[in-house]
Symmetry: C2
Subunit: 320 residues, 2 copies
Amino acid sequence: MATGILKIGVDAMGGDYAPQAVVLGALQAVEQLPDDVRIVLFGDEAAIREIASKEGATSDLFDIVPTTEVITMSDHPAQAFSKKPDSSLSVGFGYLKAGKIDGFASAGNTGAMLVGSMYSVKAIEGIIRPTISSHIPVVSGGTALLLDVGLNVDCKPDVLDQYGWLGSIYAEKVLGIPKPRVALLNIGEEKEKGNLATKAAYEIMEGSPRYNFVGNVEGKHIFTGEVADVIVCDGFVGNIVLKQAESMYDIALRLGMPVDNPFYRGMNYEHIGGTPVLGVNSVVTVGHGRSTPLAIRNMILQTERTARSGFVSQIKALLA
Amino acid sequence: MATGILKIGVDAMGGDYAPQAVVLGALQAVEQLPDDVRIVLFGDEAAIREIASKEGATSDLFDIVPTTEVITMSDHPAQAFSKKPDSSLSVGFGYLKAGKIDGFASAGNTGAMLVGSMYSVKAIEGIIRPTISSHIPVVSGGTALLLDVGLNVDCKPDVLDQYGWLGSIYAEKVLGIPKPRVALLNIGEEKEKGNLATKAAYEIMEGSPRYNFVGNVEGKHIFTGEVADVIVCDGFVGNIVLKQAESMYDIALRLGMPVDNPFYRGMNYEHIGGTPVLGVNSVVTVGHGRSTPLAIRNMILQTERTARSGFVSQIKALLA
């Protein structure tokens, strides 16, 4: 933020409905963002200008960095960057690494986003495994954080402990929860319950001076908000929990149940915004593949909030 | 069923509202059961007769085996049987082992029920790990089977394969699903997705001649019924999935959402009946601790259906 302007990079070509949905979402975000924020779109300049123009918007509402290639859902994540150096993702991560933007968001190829995060901005020194997390709604009101939601499927206990710490700082700085209650997802509340990994993780986590560990929580506690603000699990379990929750929203819709309450609105992926990548040297948000303009708008707002929060610099300072 | 009468044993002292809820549930079950079934209640004879009499029911509607002790929720499962040999659970399992009853159900101490299953009727020879499962509703209509739901938290791949087989036979014989579709719960549909255990399990399961393996399913598929009838996972994941689902029912109630559709009725534990223990030498059902009379009724009906289905003898025959 050297210029006094916070710059949020957005992959205009990422997602099932790109670039249309991305440009429309960016226009919606512009209306919500304060004056010291500038959106930087990476992608097909002519297409972006045309979509904006059709909306009656001047395209000087955001910066455009023209790129000529697109990493698609079928591209191999690890090879995509070298094969498509002028793709919106490659160029975007280049800008992020060079500090020309303060955060980067895409609803494109998730694997490529993770590879890009690891190989361009890289993990913060001292972070064993960067992780992906998800905001989840809680029925008591507000938002909790679930992590890992799919990146590291076999987690060692010290990794779970670090998730507790990363999640606690994120919940405090970005979600605005003072002294977040951090819990370990398990099959019983008692300390001795669980599988080999959670039993060992509990031993480390209960002694941690870095966060407010409140013990084990069960599956029934995840969405109540009564016990925990940060719920730690390995990426296998977290991915299944998250997708199960998403399906409950879809099922409620299918059954014609009313979903016009804050909890169910929060279960709608369009409102969740995106999946923050935690533990890397910048702010990266992975959006949902089928992002609508509303989902893109929320992905951008979340990226801005995280970039402004100083989350990454606090992690770095504490590890230095 | 040597006498031509199918005898279903029920622990009258098990559950938060026992014996009241159990006796009332048994009376409800009697009305539904065919004439060739007899319920055998284990517990405090005077209390059972008094509850039945208050309902205007003659207590010759069921057999009573009087017992003087009760294994409570706070009793240590492994020690409870030797410490309380005249408890309703101890005597019930004794009858089950001796073949004097054809199935046994209790809403009491789950751990003690599992210990009782393993040490009295014992695992069927050839079964690596008996398992507990749960009927789950699917939005397409009907019921699927999820296993393991909490017994074996770190499962080897060959155990997951055996769950697929046990679940398939149960789904066919008890749930009446022809050629059940068996799936492995995972974080992606592709074969190479997953943690170490599921990747290895996939290799075994895809070649199994014993059941109809349809591949991986994700968390979003569990409750749709569109992909699988039997969903296999380790007990850690299954327990979290099940409790998360139960909490979604509670949350819907709390939010005042209408739950008067078949799917949400099926999410209500009272309708689920109980958790069958699969892989042991008889029919054992573990009920929910807070079972109401309705839940007890369904637990008894499920136990009767399983005993009548020949599920256990089919497993034994196939392993012989």
